[in-house]
């Protein structure tokens, strides 16, 4: 008896479709990791960026013209100053009085609106803070940290200046040290 030697050539290796799926999966994984790293190194959103609309619920007693929440788009045509703060944040205390003075100066013009966004804070402590520094401009919590995530804040305090067209013009990281410093940012925006 003779052994059968009539065999077809052996095909060996991972099928093409499996290879494609594995490579696509790996490439996707790398893209996700790269995006995460890129986002982590990006820092805050940069001037020149058209700021998307968002809604800020307001603390009772800190409403804007009786409204319990405001949208950024409500203030198109005005200069918007968005200040991120927290009651546990000591540097925020350094600028609280200056911000309030600036608000008192610009509020009567009706051309500037200040919005305080309370970051990762508890309402009772936030209220104590607002009362302590006599803050009167609209303030509210950053629910689910959506607004701070959008601005990619790195800490508090941080202040964002948005022009009449909704374009971010200036970012202040850290506390203001004087009223003049705030005026130097807002006045040129009003003059445009």
């Amino acid at each position: 008896m003779t052994e059968s030697t009539n065999t077809t050539p052996v095909r060996k290796g991972v099928p093409l479709w499996v290879q494609v799926i594995i490579w696509v999966f790996l490439a996707g994984l790398l893209v996700i990791v790269a995006m995460g790293l890129s986002r982590a190194q990006q820092g805050t959103i940069q001037p020149g960026h058209a700021v998307d609309d968002f809604t800020l619920p307001l603390f009772k007693g800190y409403e804007y013209q009786g409204a319990s929440e405001v949208k950024l788009s409500d203030f198109r045509g005005k200069v918007v100053v968005i200040n991120f703060w927290a009651s546990w944040c000591k540097p925020c205390e350094q600028e609280a009085a200056e911000l309030q003075r600036a608000w008192e100066q610009y509020e009567p013009t009706g051309e500037v609106i200040f919005l305080g966004v309370d970051y990762v804070d508890t309402e009772p402590d936030a209220r104590v803070y607002l009362k302590k520094f006599g803050i009167t401009f609209p303030n509210g919590p950053d629910l689910a940290t959506r607004i701070s995530q959008y601005f990619r804040i790195k800490g508090v305090p941080e202040t964002y200046f948005i022009d009449r067209d909704g374009i971010l013009q200036y970012v202040q990281v850290g506390p203001f040290t004087s009223l003049q410093q705030i005026q130097n940012i807002i006045d040129p925006m009003l003059a445009e």
């Binding site: 059968s4 009539n6 065999t7 077809t8 052996v10 095909r11 060996k12 290796g13 991972v14 099928p15 499996v18 290879q19 799926i21 594995i22 999966f25 927290a86 009651s87 546990w88 990762v120 804070d121 508890t122 009772p124 402590d125 919590p141 629910l143 689910a144 940290t145 959506r146």
Partner: protein, 168 residues
């Protein structure tokens, strides 16, 4: 006369003793009342250990020393005192600060299903891939019977087998 004085003292002793017992009882009652009203640190930390403050990532709330976390713990204590349940308190924190404050993802089907399906798909692909990679595919012989294709042997194996035969 002495007997009368003794009698009068005895008459006072009983009400005084009752009064003393009452005062002591009230003191204890007050202490118990305060304890019921204010949740203990253990009760607060039981909830706090499952929460993470976004300011101090990777540090559970129950051991985080920052001011922000201290405020959060006080808020938990306050809500416990108001009679809120653990679930209600956690839900409050999720609403206020987002689902990322939870140590475990919320019990959504997708949170568990997607990773499980991705894992199973990976296992399937790897299993299938390696099996086809290592085990040669069965081929049809001329007689029509299936048999395993011969494994091609390289020169090294052939020489080794020859050496082994010689040694036998």
């Amino acid at each position: 006369m002495l007997n009368n004085r003794k009698l009068r003292v005895a008459n006072y002793k009983l009400p005084l003793a009752i009064l003393a017992v009452l005062i002591v009882s009230l003191l204890f009652a007050a202490a118990v009342f305060a304890q019921d009203d204010m949740p203990t640190d253990d009760e607060v930390n039981k909830i706090a250990k499952d929460l993470y403050c976004p300011v101090c990532e990777s540090t559970p709330l129950d051991v985080c020393p920052t001011e922000a976390c201290r405020q959060w713990r006080e808020l938990i204590r306050q809500q416990l005192a108001e009679g809120k349940s653990e679930e209600e308190i956690k839900q409050y924190f999720v609403t206020q600060y987002g689902a990322r404050v939870l140590s475990e993802p919320p019990n959504r089907l997708a949170s568990y299903l997607v990773p499980a399906l991705a894992f199973l798909a990976g296992v399937f692909l790897l299993f299938r891939g390696f099996r086809m990679w290592i085990k040669p595919m069965a081929v049809e012989s001329a007689s029509g019977e299936k048999e395993a294709a011969p494994i091609p042997q390289d020169d090294y194996i052939r020489r080794m087998e020859e050496e082994l035969k010689k040694r036998k």
